[in-house]
């Protein structure tokens, strides 16, 4: 271990590291947004949809959840170009992470919706709300509040999964650190550093989540 050398290298390369962090954030934010949007809709279908649709998405969710993220990423990377979809490596990676995220969010949403007492739907019916409005004004607000901690957990899983994009050559944080290691041979120091950075990112996400939870919890 050579702390002085390490700090020298760190000072010299912090710009690169920052770029890597930015890329990781960019990847994660996009995957989380797309995945959550899709996941919410799928979750609603899983709980309230017509049986054929329900079975279809049930199969989708169960299938995706049985496949390791790395396999999804590799599959997206190799398959997309072959079937003619022009997506950059980065795009393929974000697509795979979004699909992964959507399957988790769908399951969480379904669980949260299922936990809402049936009386809420009956009360909404008795004041003549259409089902669409019932979902928007009565069910989702309650489900989202209930889902929040678990969803934050899913968000941190996506951030961690973004490291797998280094395997298909995306220059996110881990790849950047690996490049630095191959140049400086200070593997232990840099791996600990990157572990610590990811820990900080996820810890921050959890803190923000707890903050939001405090704000939206009802009295």
């Amino acid at each position: 271990m050579e702390p002085i050398l390490f700090f020298n290298e760190l000072l010299g390369s912090y710009g690169l590291i920052l770029k890597g962090i930015l890329m990781t954030v960019k990847i994660s934010v996009q995957a989380i947004i797309y995945g959550t949007a899709a996941g919410l809709i799928i979750g609603i279908i899983l709980e309230y949809g017509y049986p054929p649709l329900r079975y279809l998405f049930r199969f989708y969710v169960d299938f995706i959840r049985g496949i390791p993220v790395l396999v999804q990423i590799l599959a997206a990377y190799y398959i997309l170009s072959v079937i003619g979809i022009q997506l950059s490596t980065l795009g393929a990676g974000i697509l795979a992470l979004s699909i992964f995220c959507s399957s988790h969010v769908a399951e969480i949403t379904r669980g949260a919706l299922q936990a809402i007492p049936k009386g809420q739907i009956e009360a909404a019916k008795s004041i003549s709300l259409t089902f669409r409005k019932t979902v928007i004004y009565v069910l989702l607000p309650q489900a989202l509040r209930q889902m929040l901690p678990t969803w934050v957990n899913t968000a941190t899983e996506i951030v961690k999964a973004s490291t797998l994009l280094s395997i298909i050559g995306v220059t996110e944080l881990l790849m950047t650190i690996q490049q630095l290691i191959s140049r400086t041979f200070l593997s232990l120091e840099f791996y600990f550093l990157v572990g610590f950075i990811y820990f900080l990112i996820n810890f921050t996400i959890e803190r923000i989540g707890k903050g939001i939870e405090a704000k939206v919890t009802i009295a």
Partner: protein, 256 residues
């Protein structure tokens, strides 16, 4: 027109799976009448209410409210349940207060009442708030309009729930055992609200275990037993001079 009954229930049959809960219910109600349904658990009392406002499906019979046949139509001799959009319109003719209140926990008392006015009746926001506040005041909850359900006692929640239902201006109000889940000391505040609504001429159908209250507020009492209307009549008859044996023995098991 005004002598036609507001509510007509004919030959209502309902089963849950293989268990038949309603075995042919018939009765009718006039506008402005208050009717209480009494009977032992499992006799089908709550089920009748839930069939009227189409929360439950039923296999046979019809419910007609203000001339409208609710929920079903006959198509080439086949009985067909109407689509949800039509059911929503039919349901808007009734209002229901539930045993478990079912207030929306993430909304203030005021918002609970204005939600239906704004989103279902498409009322203008200011008009909705004015209407809601009027009804909240009627039930004595105006001072607490910005409170959330978790901050209200059971009796207070139930009164807000009643305001929420009535603000929608239904032709018929349904009360499903609205005091059964309340602590004893909170029951009276709800009962007095119901009584004052009755005095104002609201048409109401109540399912209740509160016999003294039923006797006090109702024009007629319906006694349900094993899925049929066993006896129906004014309170003096039902409670003082019951015609059916089963009613007599049911009353023995309760205190008036």
């Amino acid at each position: 027109m005004s002598t036609d009954p507001l509510l007509k229930i004919e030959s209502l049959h309902k089963s849950f799976g293989t268990v038949e809960v309603l075995k042919g219910v018939d009765f009718s109600m006039n506008q402005g009448e208050v009717i209480s349904i009494i009977g032992s658990s499992g006799s089908g009392k709550t089920t009748i209410l839930r069939c009227i406002n189409l929360l439950e499906e039923y296999q046979q019979g019809s419910v007609t409210l203000d001339g409208v046949v609710m929920g079903y139509k006959t198509d080439n001799n086949r009985r067909v349940r109407l689509p949800e959009s039509v059911l929503v319109k039919h349901r808007s003719m009734t209002g229901m207060a539930f045993q478990q209140f079912n207030l929306f926990p993430h909304m203030t008392a005021l918002r609970n009442v204005t939600l239906g006015l704004i989103k279902a009746l498409n009322m203008d926001k200011d008009e909705a708030i004015a209407t809601a506040e009027r009804w909240l005041e009627r039930v004595g909850m105006l001072a607490r309009k910005e409170h959330y359900p978790s901050q209200l006692s059971g009796g207070q929640q139930q009164r807000v729930a009643i305001a929420r239902a009535i603000a929608m201006n239904p032709r018929l109000m349904l009360f499903d055992e609205v005091t059964s889940a309340l602590d004893p000391e909170l029951v009276n505040e709800v009962l007095s609200v119901i009584k004052s609504l009755a005095t104002d001429g609201m048409t109401m159908l109540l399912v209740t275990h509160e016999m003294a209250f039923a006797a006090d507020v109702s024009n007629r009492i319906v006694f349900m037993n094993e899925g049929v209307v066993e006896e129906i009549g004014p309170p003096e008859q039902i409670f003082k001079a019951p015609k059916s044996e089963r009613l007599a023995s049911f009353l023995k098991g309760t205190t008036i």
